[in-house]
């Protein structure tokens, strides 16, 4: 067994992980563990922008931004967190600029800003130009800039180290009111070195999770193959709850059939959605801001057009994104990459032809619950000292039930920075928690089990069926029946998963083995999402129940918290799912009362 000791271990080298590493690396001995080379992280795929009320091109202020974020999230947003994010957004953008990020510029040489869905001036009066951007490669520039600065600060990376377990020790403790409970403490993580197939234990005073999303539970997704919800899954298996997992964002404009994203920035620049009749149908769904309505609304509108027979194409299963009225030179300057995607992957020339699009699974609003200093919560209000989470893996919750475009790149920068500082500061005062006995046991058990199994089930087949059922039943529209179908399917997948075969038995770069491990996380995540969706009998933000089409603040204005609990049996659970206990957590309000969400 190889043991490494660091003050801070960061899991994941996407935007959130590297932003944390830049802070932490300068304050404490820090290691960054990542299953991909840092620059392969999916932050690099983000296109449209990162918003901050810089007011460089028109009047704006961070309070409007806060309001838009809360309204966009259908009031399930923790308002203190939204305030922090909108206020610190300005510095987050300026920090990046100072690190060298090549933002597009205004004629005066300031950072240019563009419109984005749901971002408005003066509480919804009109769209506002708030998103700072670098063509349609904002995420690429952020990822590269952060990596460059990690190089500058000599951050220690362990590339292609898959973290597979979180080492948690439980201590008896007593609450202020006298009730005893188990206090969790973090001791480190266990990781698998892809190159050698060896397990490495990292003992650390602080651990920061920044391992990104879980989009691969769906078939049509803008997410990378590697976004398999590992971080969420690891935490969940170690008894950390997952918050608001039923809320998954479907981005309206994925390339039809492929899921590759075309940024909302396209609509920000003036592109228009049309149905088979050529109608600009968003006028009917969101009369004020039309095509720039928040994503959940646009995605549902699109799905609805298709359902009502106004879809395009041979199977009438997509709508069209029309850029043809825009100046080619303008498109080329502002949206060079996405036009190339349309050309490469669909063979469509966006200057002259509309691009087939359909909603694509995009972003997990839920995740590991944290407070505004990014400390992970083990229940509604007890933090796990030394454990932090930031980025898509976390749920602060600034996105509530629906994230506004550009708020995630902001999230990873604001909370990534906070996590890095907090983790490093904590490590200065804390001691190492002793490693549990045989810390690799659980991980080795999983790996050996998969390697020695001689079943016949194929990982890829199960994963495909999981993704199919999730697309069919857990997507934009959901009903009790469809969700129950998913749960039945997952139960059978879990059974089959016990008999999967891993063909590659080697130690070197055994990605076959890791795909099998990742499938385990995917199954867990799909289940948690679906159970949450089944429980939430209302429609809010990204979660739309056809059998409960209205928002129900009375019963559901609260976060859901899913715990792994093996004492729950199918019979004892309201949702008849074994192993998951659902609880709720109140939403934090500061200034904004819930209103009807209309655009």
């Amino acid at each position: 067994m190889q043991v490494h000791k660091y003050d801070v271990v960061i899991v994941g080298a996407g935007g959130a992980g590297m932003r944390a590493a830049i802070e932490s690396g300068q304050r404490a001995r820090t290691a960054v563990l990542t299953k991909l080379y840092p620059t392969r992280s999916h932050t690099g795929a983000a296109q449209g922008g990162m918003c901050a009320a810089l007011a460089n091109v028109e009047e704006d202020n961070w309070e409007w931004h806060t309001f838009d974020t809360i309204k966009g999230g259908d009031y399930l947003v923790d308002q203190d967190a939204a305030e922090v994010m909108a206020k610190e957004a300005i510095d987050a953008v300026l920090d990046l600029e100072k690190m060298g990020l090549p933002f597009n510029r205004t004629p005066e040489g300031r950072i240019d800003q563009r419109r984005f869905g749901g971002h408005t001036r003066d509480h919804g009066k009109a769209p506002v130009r708030r998103a700072c951007y670098a063509a349609d490669r904002t995420g690429h520039m952020i990822l590269q800039t952060l990596y460059q600065n990690c190089v500058k600060h000599n951050v220690e990376f362990y590339n292609e180290y898959y973290v597979l377990d979180l080492l948690i020790v439980e201590e008896d403790a007593v609450r202020e009111d006298g009730t005893p409970y188990k206090q969790k403490r973090v001791a480190g993580v266990v990781s698998y070195d892809l190159a050698s197939g060896e397990l490495h234990v990292f003992q650390a005073k602080s651990v920061v999770f920044a391992s990104g999303g879980a989009g691969k539970v769906f078939k049509t997704t803008s997410n990378a193959h590697t976004l398999t919800g590992d971080g969420m899954g690891i935490a969940f298996r170690r008894g950390i709850p997952l918050e608001d997992m039923e809320f998954f964002q479907f981005h309206p404009t994925g390339l039809a059939g492929l899921g590759i994203l075309l940024t909302e920035g396209a609509r920000g620049e003036g592109a228009i959605l049309r149905n088979s009749e050529g109608e600009r149908f968003m006028e009917r769904y969101a009369p004020t801001i039309k095509d720039l309505a928040p994503r959940d609304i646009v995605a549902r509108a699109m799905a609805n057009e298709v359902r009502e027979g106004r879809g395009c194409g041979p199977n009438k299963d997509y709508v069209l994104l029309d850029l043809t009225h825009l100046e080619p030179a303008h498109i080329e300057a502002k949206l060079p990459d996405i036009t190339e995607f349309a050309r490469t992957y669909l063979g469509v020339e966006p200057f002259t032809d509309p691009v087939p699009v359909f909603p694509t699974a995009h972003y997990a609003m839920g995740g590991i619950p944290t407070n505004i200093t990014t400390e992970v919560l083990q229940d509604n209000d007890t933090i796990v000292p030394g454990l932090y989470a930031a980025g898509e893996v976390a749920c602060v919750s600034v996105h509530g039930s629906n994230r506004l475009g550009t708020n995630s790149l902001l999230d990873i920068n604001v909370f990534g920075k906070r996590a890095g500082i907090a983790a490093a500061e904590y490590s200065k005062t804390a001691d190492f928690v002793e490693l549990p006995e045989d810390p690799e046991a659980m991980t080795r058990g999983i790996l050996d089990g998969l390697l020695s199994g001689n079943g016949t089930e194929r990982v890829a087949q199960i994963r495909k069926e999981l993704q199919d059922t999730m697309d069919a039943n857990m997507q934009v529209f959901r009903t009790k029946e469809s969700l129950e179908q998913v749960l039945r399917d997952i139960a059978s997948f879990e059974e089959r998963y016990k008999h999967v075969t891993v063909q590659d038995k080697g130690k070197r770069f055994n990605l076959d083995l890791l795909e099998a491990v990742e499938l385990g996380f995917l199954l867990d995540m799909a289940k948690v999402m679906t159970v949450g969706a089944l429980h939430r009998e209302e429609s809010r933000g990204g979660h739309y129940r056809e059998d409960f089409p209205d928002r129900d603040d009375e019963k559901f204005m609260k976060h859901s918290m899913a715990y792994l609990d093996n004492s729950v049996t199918a019979a004892s659970s309201a949702e008849s799912v074994a192993g998951i206990r659902l609880e709720t957590k109140p939403v934090i309000f500061t200034r904004y009362e819930p209103m009807e969400r209309k655009y």
Binding site: A31, N154, E156, F157, Y158, N159, D193, A195, S196, G197, E198, K507, R508
Partner: protein, 158 residues
């Protein structure tokens, strides 16, 4: 449990990589730059020199048949052609030598092979340049052996 050698060439996180890939020390000075620049400048001049040379020697008049001792002697009696050929000799040799040096640098696998190949190259170049220069300058268009003028010379009418 068999442990396999970590394929990663260096210690992880140490920023170290396999010695093969460590650049074998940096070069001081601008030698490579000047060599690069020289290749371009000499190239341009050589175009004129070589094309002129080929034209006069092979295409004018009877072409190659005209070439004999007398032809050469005739040319070198004129300082213009002496200078022309001298420039061509030096530039072409230096240009060519530097070119071949690049090629040796590229393809020689071992440092020692590289070193010796280059030594051979430089020695050859040196010999050729000195020899050529001497020939051009010490050339006597009217060689006289044992008091007898050799035939075919290019001599001023006695």
């Amino acid at each position: 449990m068999t442990t396999i050698e970590t394929p990663r060439s260096g210690k992880i996180g140490s920023g170290k990589i396999a010695p093969k890939y460590n650049r074998t020390g940096s070069s001081r000075g601008n030698f490579e730059m000047i060599a690069w620049l020289f290749m371009r400048l000499s190239g341009i001049v050589l175009v004129v020199l070589i094309f002129g040379h080929l034209f006069v020697n092979l295409l004018v008049g009877e072409g190659i048949h005209a070439i004999d001792f007398g032809f050469v002697a005739g040319k070198w009696a004129d300082p213009f052609w002496q200078f022309w050929d001298l420039a061509m000799l030096w530039l072409a040799m230096l240009h060519g030598t530097n070119g071949v040096r690049t090629i040796i640098n590229d393809y020689a696998e071992k440092d020692s092979t590289r070193f010796w190949l280059k030594m051979v190259l430089y020695a050859a170049t040196l010999v050729i340049i000195i020899l050529g220069t001497l020939v051009i300058f010490t050339f006597n268009p009217c060689p006289v052996v044992d008091g007898v003028q050799l035939p075919g010379g290019f001599c001023p009418a006695p």
